[in-house]
């Protein structure tokens, strides 16, 4: 397996190529563009046998992927921010039609004011579309989660489209050593896409998405809910099989980093995780019993795995790179729901960080954890905005 220096975006392109995608339809937007530029290059050079459909908008990009997936092709696209919002209507159609599609999203803030820097609100605004949503920590995981993503999405007990998201610039444009699996290994893990009962066939015509009266509609929604829950097992199985074939465990619902005996557990998604692990290591050496739980899959939300991870902790710090105006961070809300549902007794603090690419240093993270350790944080009712000016 060759180790290559790849940015997160180029790792995504290699992952799509190794997954032998058959249709790529995309519209350019910063900081995503490099992914589909690289894929276009692979196709031009003849290294990837796929159809690249140039479309006039993200809405059309997803519509083209829906059409491709409906006739049985493996489809891939990528977008960010405003483009994702423009595409949003079709995200519901893809999930509702139960079509396996994988999409890369480089997370980026929403305007106004205009910003091209990272923020998770674009992806999280699509929370309820019925797409499986994964957050990658680094370029290696971008590659691994996209390959696993096709297998999860195409599983006939799941049949839901899947998003792999990663942070703008911190991951998308930062070059890291990435272990790229050989094609024969990926082929063994991910066979050619199969046909399903709802794959279009000219010999046996039918249509998608007809009118469903109140007596029928609700069951379709229940079926998506049901498949989402089943996806939890499939996600874990795929991670284990990928590990067996590549020798790298790089998947699964959560990552438990020294949580088992921790009094304080930090929870986050995406690229901040690397910094949090360094801070956890440093504080552990000073005798602070702190752990880190990374949420790799936000949908389906891994409530059971998370509850187990934080079972013995007293204090939970949830780092959100998003804000739900009028409430708090989306991840924090999920954690509170889990704590409540599982009947756990914890103090849960919400922390808003890195909005629109605002810099966060390891020292900032360390200060918050130490404050929590010394029980110097304000009441959890008071949402903390990290590195906010003028307050």
């Amino acid at each position: 397996m060759p180790v290559m220096p790849l940015s997160g975006n180029h790792a995504a392109a290699y992952a799509a190529k190794l997954s032998r995608v058959e249709v790529v339809a995309a519209y350019p937007i910063t900081p995503q563009t490099q992914i589909v530029e690289k894929l276009a290059e692979f196709i031009e050079k003849g290294e990837l046998k796929a159809k690249f459909i140039r479309v006039e908008s993200e809405h059309s990009a997803m519509a083209a992927c829906i059409g491709a997936a409906a006739v049985g092709a493996r489809a891939f696209t990528a977008t960010s921010s405003q483009g994702l919002l423009y595409m949003s209507e079709m995200l519901w159609w893809a999930a509702g039609a139960r079509l396996p599609i994988v999409m890369g999203i480089v997370t980026r803030a929403l305007a106004p004011p205009w910003s091209i820097w990272s923020d998770h609100i674009d992806v999280l605004s699509q929370r309820d579309t019925g797409w499986i949503i994964a957050f990658a920590e680094n370029a290696q995981e971008v590659l691994d989660l996209i390959i696993q993503g096709f297998k999860i999405s195409e599983n006939d007990r799941v049949l839901l489209p899947l998003i792999v998201a990663w942070d703008a610039f911190d991951v998308s444009h930062t070059i890291e050593p990435v272990d790229v699996p050989n094609q024969n290994v990926v082929d063994e893990f991910l066979p050619k896409r199969r046909k399903y009962r709802h794959t279009l066939d000219v010999e046996n015509p039918f249509s998608y998405g007809n009118l469903a009266y109140p007596k029928d509609y609700m069951e379709f929604r229940y079926s998506i809910y049901d498949s989402m829950l089943r996806a939890k097992d499939v996600i874990e199985q795929c991670a284990a099989e990928y590990d067996r074939l590549t020798g790298r465990y790089s998947g699964g619902l959560i990552e438990n980093y020294l949580c088992d005996d921790a009094d304080i557990v930090a929870i986050a998604m995406g690229s901040i995780s690397g910094d949090l692990k360094v801070v956890v290591d440093k504080l552990r050496k000073q005798g602070v019993k702190v752990g880190f739980c990374r949420i790799r899959y936000f949908r389906p939300f891994p409530s059971e795995a998370l509850a187990k991870c934080i079972e013995d902790a007293k204090t939970i710090l949830v780092f959100d790179r998003d804000i739900s105006f009028g409430s708090e961070g989306a991840l924090c809300l999920e954690v509170r729901a889990t704590v409540n549902r599982e009947g756990l007794d914890k103090r849960v603090y919400g922390i808003i960080y890195g909005i629109g690419g605002r810099e966060v240093r390891q020292k900032d993270l360390e200060n918050i954890i130490v404050k929590a350790y010394k029980e110097e944080l304000n009441h959890p009712r008071k949402l903390l905005w990290l590195n906010l000016k003028h307050v």
């Binding site: 509702g96 039609a97 139960r98 006939d156 007990r157 799941v158 049949l159 399903y196 009962r197 709802h198 015509p205 039918f206 249509s207 998608y208 998405g209 007809n210 469903a212 069951e219 379709f220 229940y222 079926s223 049901d226 498949s227």
Partner: protein, 83 residues
């Protein structure tokens, strides 16, 4: 739920009833002008025109949208007001 519920529908004739009742303008083919090119048959969004030895409109299902009359290259289809 053991299996995924797929939102697909197989076509059946007249599954929403006689949609011809919705019509206010009725297309009538003037077979003396008709060249049997079947463009009307191809364009009909409701598949309410049959391609037999000549195009035949199924008035039980034709909603009277007028696309056939608009597309007809020899203007052989007239839209006539329903009573």
């Amino acid at each position: 739920m053991k299996e995924v519920l797929m939102p697909i529908a197989y076509p059946t004739k007249g599954s929403v009833g006689n949609t011809g009742l919705w019509r206010t303008l009725k297309p009538v083919i003037n077979y003396e002008k008709c060249t049997k090119c079947f463009i009307c048959w191809m364009y009909c969004p409701e598949a309410a025109i049959l391609a037999e030895d000549k195009p035949v409109i199924l008035y039980d299902f034709c909603k009277g949208c007028g696309i056939c009359a608009n597309e007809c290259p020899v203007k052989a289809i007239n839209m006539i007001k329903e009573v």
